[in-house]
Symmetry: C2
Subunit: 284 residues, 2 copies
């Protein structure tokens, strides 16, 4: 039977998952979802899910996007309703639609947007948010963090902020960083980041560095020095995963999906040569 | 030693509490907080906490207000920091300040504002919100709920929506009801209610009735008929507690605190006599 590609929009509470990527003997989002789809459609072999952002252990997602190739006669509505019945309540598939031609959840994406949530009030975090915010001991100077963040925007080698991986470039284009206080809870500071892709642990390390500046423990100049480091920087603290959430993934118009996927698969390089071999990491 | 009155602003995740009010052998917010304050201040007798909204089992609070009389030499900062160390992470005291003369957390309050959160998308609720939203099977017509809610605004006997209690009036003034879709999550519908006070289970029953209208299972006329019922109405469904949160409590300017407290302690009556004896319930 011919296969058809479907786009899945989903979210999960990362607390009880060892991240997205399937691993033997670990509870992962990919593992749970693969098992559920394969079972409700009574397929002979496990489906192959491809995701936009392969989140780490404990990281949440609200706007994750995946694709999967399924038999052409699959009913999207039936699949969604059956999944709602069998999936545990810490993962939800919000939408199942036919993918446009050329769509690849990972390689067609032009950006990923993450939010890291911090709590810097003297008191304990709002109990309703406690599983999704990270407590910071110092009061944060939001304006200072916002200004410092400008140093990081643009095309850079983010090796200083990344867990090294074999055969993986750490060159990325950060398109936007926004720092703001959330209106509904006094102590909540949200750091939003958008980039073409993120390397492993990058968001949590970048926010850790911005917190150091916002708490007046480090200067703007220090941040620039860190950024220029060709290897992981020892003074950068990687914040815990529970404050991080993949909020949204951006795709180009349908007629550019295939071209974008081909482009993203190609080598990412800086204008000047670097010692890093090319790759396509998009972890956070 | 002379005592001084303090105002506490606090929040809690209601999931693991049997409500606010202390009960023997039950974990309650009042019980946990009383024990913690008494212990960190090394007081000989348990402190007496008075709260603005005595929330039911499972109901959350983000803007709860309490008062407590403590020895005059108590340091608010020290108390807050010690509480942050000893309190469990599902309750947080965000602020401790000296209460203005005449302040009574319960009787000085001029309004309580609650939000009930619903999820009406075909899929399962956003996993990050699942503990604080109630899943509704039908798609909700927000505009229709908003219009129907007007029937309920004003001074009415809300007996139809209240769990009967001995010696308790069910006459309340609902000042505002707002129904809206929350921007950040596709399926989230928020129903906000503000009243001078609420009788027992009233918010959850009112929202249950509005959901019946929004889902086209009941008419506006039905809602008016329900409201006119002098006793609890059998067709009204009381929604589960985990969707409900006490968001904010309103107080008058400091120079009116004492007068307001005296007024609230007095009998609440409709312009016409009712068979209900007076009381001062403010449950939800």
């Amino acid at each position: 039977m011919t296969a058809r590609r479907w786009r899945l929009d989903l979210g999960y509470d990362g607390a009880a998952f060892s991240g997205w990527a399937a691993q033997p003997d670990r509870r992962t989002v990919q593992g749970v979802l693969t098992e559920a789809i394969t079972r409700v459609l009574r397929l002979p072999d496990p489906v192959q899910l491809v995701v936009a952002g392969r989140t780490d252990s404990g990281v949440h997602a609200r706007g994750q996007v995946a694709h999967v190739d399924l038999p052409a006669d699959t009913s999207a509505d039936a699949l969604m309703h059956r999944l709602a019945r069998v999936l545990p309540d810490d993962v939800a598939v919000h939408r199942v639609i036919p993918a446009a031609p050329g769509f690849d959840a990972r390689f067609s994406a032009v950006w990923r947007r993450y939010t890291y949530r911090l709590w810097d009030d003297a008191s304990r975090p709002d109990p309703l948010l406690r599983r999704h915010v990270t407590l910071v001991r110092d009061h944060l100077d939001i304006e200072r963090m916002h200004v410092a963040a400008r140093t990081l925007v643009g095309l850079h080698d983010f090796a200083a902020f990344c867990k090294p991986r074999d055969a993986a470039t750490t060159i990325r284009t950060v398109q936007w960083i926004g720092v703001s206080r959330a209106g509904d809870a006094a102590g909540t500071v949200e750091v939003g980041l958008r980039a073409d892709a993120f390397c492993h642990s990058m968001v949590r390390a970048v926010v850790g560095a911005l917190v150091a500046v916002g708490a007046d423990r480090r200067s703007d100049r220090w941040l620039a020095e860190v950024l220029s480091s060709p290897v992981r920087h020892s003074q950068v603290i990687v914040l815990p995963p529970h404050g991080l959430c993949l909020e949204e993934v951006g795709y180009p118009p349908d007629d550019q999906l295939a071209a974008r996927a081909a482009e993203a698969r190609a080598v990412r390089t800086l204008p000047i040569p670097t010692p890093h071999p090319p790759s396509d990491q998009d972890h956070a």
